[in-house]
């Protein structure tokens, strides 16, 4: 916080050892009780930091997209989407329900 004296003279706060002379602007981080009293009484005023307005930057106007614009190129540039893989039919192996053992051979 930047503070300065509102009247000619000097000011001293024994608690924080703050010294102020008329016309001097000081940045204080810690405020002593005497400084607070004088601040409330108007003997010390808070000097607002000099705010320099920043130049207003206008946003770029939106670029109109016309048909002449090679939108195709854009399309071309776009990578082909990866074709979705069709899920392969899962082969379910049928378990032959054969019985192991002797087979009868039929002779006609």
């Amino acid at each position: 916080m930047l503070i300065s004296l509102s009247k000619p003279g000097v000011f001293y706060d024994p608690e924080t050892k703050l010294r102020l002379e008329y016309g001097e602007v000081k940045d204080v981080l810690r405020i002593g009780s005497l400084t607070r009293q004088v601040l409330n009484g108007g003997g010390i005023v808070i000097v607002s930091p000099p705010v320099t307005p920043e130049p207003i930057v206008k946003p770029d106007p939106p670029v109109a997209v016309t048909m002449e614009t090679s939108t195709l190129d854009l399309i071309v540039d776009i990578e082909d989407p990866i074709p979705e893989e069709k899920p392969k039919p899962t082969v379910v192996a049928k378990k032959q329900s054969g019985k192991r053992g002797r087979t009868k051979k039929v002779v006609k």
């Binding site: 000619p8 000097v10 000011f11 001293y12 009484g41 108007g42 003997g43």
Partner: protein, 375 residues
């Protein structure tokens, strides 16, 4: 001879209680006095008159006489001995502590060097009047002519009194093993620190004034050649002081500026050989023959505060020095606190000025309009 005055059993009635009453209490008027001074001048004597006590030789009673009457040797007595003694002697212990602190309080530059008087205040917030005579100079008045009146501007200002306090705790080991003469040195140091705190508050009030809007702050004037303090810069201030009927013959500087001031040849060495051709005797004596010089860290380097002690400031006292003791049994500690409640109030704003060697005597750094000459 021990017991000659019988103070062993009458100390409370003849000395302690009258002493407390004389000093006053919170908000009640009283006057600061040490035990030894009170015994010699105000204590109740054998004829029940408060005119002080005399020793066997007819001289005012001193602290040494008191020890003698009690049959004690202070070199072998510790504070704990006194506290644990029966009879009235236990009242002596806090008084001794107080006396030592008070001795320290008054041993160096103190706030009493800054004020014209100490005024008892009945409350913590004091409304103090201020009066300004605008054209008080008597005028030529013809026969039967109506006498011109003085314009008076007056008002009041509020000063809030604050407490300054500190406590020390001493263990039984310390109190039992340290004889009183040795302990007194440390207690005096305690008093000195309290004095330093009050002194700094006083100097701060002289610089800032006593109002929160700084409407009462000290005027600042520059010097002929910015950056160089010369004797002539003080002479300019002294001349103006005489023209406004003030006597700025007290000086406060910082440590660094004190070195500069004491290095000025006008303050350091005899001026020239023989005497001037003409000795000018200004009727209103511009140059002070002697000048009390105080050093304070409250002053900025390069600044000299000149003030008229008789018109600059008063000390408003709500409570004088109070020394209280308590015993913390579980820790075997004896605590002693010293406190005072008061505040400073400025009287005349033009009774003080700061000569700032970093500023040239021009623009904002000349005597303000309210210091315009009246003679």
């Amino acid at each position: 001879m021990a017991g000659e005055l019988g103070l062993l059993n009458t100390f409370k009635e003849r000395i302690y209680h009258p002493l407390q009453k004389y000093r006053g209490s919170d908000g009640e008027s009283g006057k600061e006095i040490t035990l030894s001074e009170f015994m010699a001048t105000r204590a109740v004597n054998e004829s029940n008159q408060p005119i002080g006590l005399k020793n066997g030789n007819g001289n005012p009673l001193s602290l040494a006489d008191l020890w003698k009457d009690l049959g004690l040797d202070p070199a072998n007595v510790t504070l704990d001995n006194l506290i644990t003694l029966s009879d009235d002697i236990k009242y002596l212990a806090p008084e001794l502590v107080r006396d030592f602190i008070l001795q320290g309080l008054n041993s160096d530059a103190s706030y009493m060097d800054l004020v014209s008087a100490t005024v008892n205040s009945p409350s913590l917030t004091v409304t103090s009047p201020w009066v300004e005579f605008n054209n008080a100079i008597p005028e030529d008045t013809a026969e039967a002519e109506t006498i011109a009146e003085t314009d008076i501007t007056w008002g009041d200002k509020t000063i809030r009194l604050r407490k300054k306090a500190k406590a020390i705790k001493a263990s039984d080991e310390l109190l039992l093993s340290t004889p009183i003469p040795l302990l007194s040195q440390y207690l005096m140091r305690f008093g000195r620190l309290l004095a330093a705190s009050l002194f700094t508050d006083g100097v701060t009030t002289l610089v800032n004034g006593d109002q929160a809007d700084l409407s009462d702050n000290c005027a600042v004037v520059g010097v002929t050649n910015s950056g160089t303090l010369t004797f002539a810069d003080y002479v300019r201030a002294w001349i103006r002081a005489r023209q406004i009927m003030m006597n700025w013959n007290n000086l406060i500087t910082s440590e660094a500026t004190a070195n500069t001031v004491l290095g000025l040849s006008e303050f350091k060495s005899p001026q020239g050989f023989g005497s001037p051709m003409v000795n000018i005797e200004s009727k209103n004596r511009v140059l002070p023959a002697t000048m009390p010089h105080l050093i304070s860290a409250a002053m900025s380097d390069g600044q000299s505060l000149l003030f008229d002690k008789s018109q600059a400031m008063t000390y408003l006292s709500f409570r004088g020095l109070m020394v209280e003791s308590e015993r913390i049994v579980m820790r075997q500690l004896n605590g002693t606190s010293a406190s005072t409640i008061g505040g400073f109030s400025t009287t005349f704003r033009h009774a003080r000025v700061i000569v700032d060697s970093s500023q040239a005597y021009s623009g904002d750094y000349v005597f303000p309009s309210w210091m315009a000459p009246i003679v």
